[in-house]
């Protein structure tokens, strides 16, 4: 691995949501959305985070951004050399952190306030971070719109006058307005038409180069993530089951779930011969995860140990590159 600086280190991060029942709202169980995630995000990389519904990837993104409170664990961010746990920041420190971490959302229809013009929506964060004069804000917003290939005059229009792809680009402009270092893209292209997805993906790549950004790209679409990411982490029921370079994940798959996932995806290539591994049953609920390895009930290769002991995410070196996987079969 090249000399990479760690921007964000997650240590055993957990986010549980209480399930409350009854008149007195007793907590009867917990939804273990994020269940012990320990990975690093390196400066300047695009880390893809994939998984199916209920795996916890969106919750992980929101936990890092402090939109949802972590239940346990640490998220240690590298503030220009000084390392601090995001979960334990004071309000003042959190305000500074908000400049560094931003998010782009999925749904272009609800990501912008329908009652405000684009200028109205984008100026409040700038005001918040000290841009006092309206003229200056106008200039900055105009520049941002041009950076995402939209015209400056668009700032005077309302969201409903734009298409889905354009709104998504405005959402990206908004995230860029405070000059962040890390941007979480939460299914940022999933709701767009396929031909528009390419436009937005290209834009994200260009912006990353120009502005030295780091991305955490959350998606369920493995074709997209393979294309845009440097490394990919695969999540299942709140845990990371595999983490490797994009090409390695596909060519050297270690975890049975990743194998099944990759084989299940319909590929837009007639010459691609897929041996579809059909998984039995459904994705279990994060309220009551299985004992041992979360994947074992559906795993075609399970052994006795899998139902008893939770496998750790271990590092394997393949051709000098790091490849993490959590599977007893690899021991």
């Amino acid at each position: 691995m090249k000399n990479k600086e760690v921007l964000l280190e997650l240590r055993d991060l957990k986010t549980y949501f209480p399930v409350q029942k009854g008149v007195f709202k007793r907590t009867v169980a917990h939804v273990k959305a994020v269940d012990g995630v320990s990975i690093n995000i390196y400066k300047g990389e695009t880390l893809g985070l994939v998984g199916e519904s209920g795996c916890g990837k969106t919750t992980l993104g929101k936990t890092i951004l402090q939109l949802v409170k972590a239940t346990a664990g640490e998220a240690i961010y590298n503030f220009d050399g000084e390392k601090k746990d995001l979960n334990k920041l004071s309000d003042k420190e959190m305000m500074k952190a908000r400049k560094k971490l931003q998010i782009v959302f999925q749904d272009p229809h609800s990501s912008l306030n329908p009652a405000f013009t684009i200028f109205g929506s984008l100026q409040d964060p700038l005001k918040q971070f000290g841009v006092k004069s309206k003229a200056e804000r106008k200039k900055i917003i105009g520049d941002l719109l041009e950076a995402v290939n939209l015209r400056r005059e668009y700032m005077n229009r309302y969201p409903h006058e734009f298409s889905g792809g354009q709104r998504q680009r405005i959402g990206i402009a908004r995230a860029l307005s405070v000059e962040p270092e890390l941007i979480v893209c939460d299914e940022a292209v999933s709701a767009l038409d396929v031909s528009i997805q390419a436009q937005v993906l290209k834009l994200l790549q260009d912006l990353k180069e120009e502005r030295n950004l780091t991305y955490l790209f959350i998606t369920h679409d493995l074709s997209v993530v393979e294309y845009i990411s440097d490394r990919i982490a695969v999540m299942y029921l709140g845990k990371i089951v595999e983490l490797a370079d994009s090409d390695d994940l596909y060519n050297n798959t270690l975890h049975p779930y990743t194998e099944a996932l990759l084989s299940a995806i319909p590929v837009a290539d007639l010459d691609h011969k897929s041996e579809r591994i059909i998984l039995e049953g459904n994705v279990p609920s994060p309220v009551d995860p299985p004992s041992g390895c979360p994947f074992h009930p559906r795993c075609p290769k399970k052994i006795a140990k899998c139902s008893k002991v939770i496998p750790e995410l271990k590092k394997y070196e393949i051709d000098g590159r790091e490849h993490y996987a959590a599977c007893h079969l690899l021991d």
Binding site: S53, V194, Q197, A198, H220, I265, A268, H272
Partner: protein
């Protein structure tokens, strides 16, 4: 029945919508054939009119819309029936629906009634279209759920739809649609809302249906991957027209329309890694109320010339491979 195993043929179908006092030409002259034992994938992006095509065939259009022109012919055992001429609420159309032609939708939660059990709804369908007694219908419902791969069908037949998980709900909907062994199944993005591993299960199921019952399937999707894996025939739609159609081999290997070609070049293909060159299609889908003159793809097309202000005719590339582009020969010869 037609000698070339066509079971539904659609000829120059035009369906217009009249909401908000405007006329939206959602489907504007569409022709294709659905064949027995084959899957036709209708692929296109949002607003291209693919769903409207299916609801036109089923005569399930909303109040403020109608079929303006065109013919929809169903080749039943008793001879050809002109669906477009039937009263949409009449007994003839209602007997066709469910028994001969069935439709499954994207969201099973809203397509199935939440206050009746799944078994009850399947039995309703059977009661209306067949002569089965109540007990026979009950048995058949359990059999159907079993055939669709739902475990413990005797128990699940008495449950409500919210008690089913996403994939199971879709299977239940397919079970209900297949209850009377329809000759044609129209599937509108049936797996878009499902996880990939569940999607794979549903596709396997649909392949089995095709093989076991010789069902004709029309699958609406926006996912080229689905097309590559499932389709026998493809129709590519853009702004209410079919711009290209043919077998999946023809269309995917030798795209003859600039839109098809551009679409294929703009999507990431799993396995091709990071070195793929994605080329986005420039511009945006036009406003349906502010359409370009002539060919709808003009503003975004690399092959556009003056001639394109005239609406293109349909050209035969080879055999059953058709396209609507004046410059199709150039498109074909431009290899990457």
């Amino acid at each position: 029945m037609n000698k070339d195993n066509t079971i539904i043929s659609v000829d120059n179908l035009k369906t217009y919508f009249y909401t908000n006092e405007r006329c939206n030409k959602a489907v504007n002259g569409v022709s294709f054939k659905i064949r027995k034992g084959r899957t036709l994938c209708v692929v296109g992006e949002s607003g291209c009119g693919k769903t409207v095509t299916a609801t036109s065939i089923m005569r399930l259009l909303p109040k403020l819309s109608r079929i303006e022109e065109g013919e929809i012919t169903y080749y039943s055992d008793q001879g050809p029936i002109r669906i477009d001429q039937l009263d949409p609420n009449g007994s003839k159309m209602r007997s066709l629906r469910g028994q001969d032609i069935a439709m499954i939708f994207q969201d099973p939660m809203t397509a199935l009634n939440p206050v009746y059990t799944v078994g009850y709804q399947i039995r309703e369908n059977l009661k209306y279209h067949t002569d089965l007694t109540k007990d026979e219908a009950k048995k058949r419902a359990v059999e159907l759920l079993d055939n669709m791969g739902i475990p413990l069908p005797e128990q699940r037949v008495n449950e409500y739809i919210h008690q089913f998980s996403g994939g199971m709900r879709q299977r239940a909907m397919i079970a209900m649609a297949m209850a009377c062994n329809p000759k044609v199944l129209l599937a509108d993005e049936p797996t878009t809302a499902l996880d990939v591993t569940i999607q794979a299960q549903i596709f396997d199921l649909m392949e089995e249906l095709k093989e076991d019952y010789n069902t004709a399937i029309m699958m609406i999707t926006h996912d080229m991957g689905v097309v590559a894996e499932l389709a026998d025939d493809v129709a590519v739609m853009y702004m209410g027209n079919i711009v290209e159609s043919g077998t999946v081999e023809d269309v995917l290997r030798n795209p003859a329309h600039p839109y098809t070609k551009a679409l294929l070049k703009s999507i990431p293909v799993l396995g091709k890694g990071r070195s793929q060159k994605l080329e986005p299609i420039r511009g945006n889908t036009p406003d349906p109320f502010d359409r370009p003159k002539g060919c709808q793809f003009n503003p975004r097309c690399d092959y556009m010339t003056e001639k394109c202000y005239e609406t293109p005719e349909s050209f035969t590339v080879k055999g059953e491979h058709y396209t609507k582009c004046w410059h199709y020969e150039k498109v074909l010869s431009d290899e990457e």
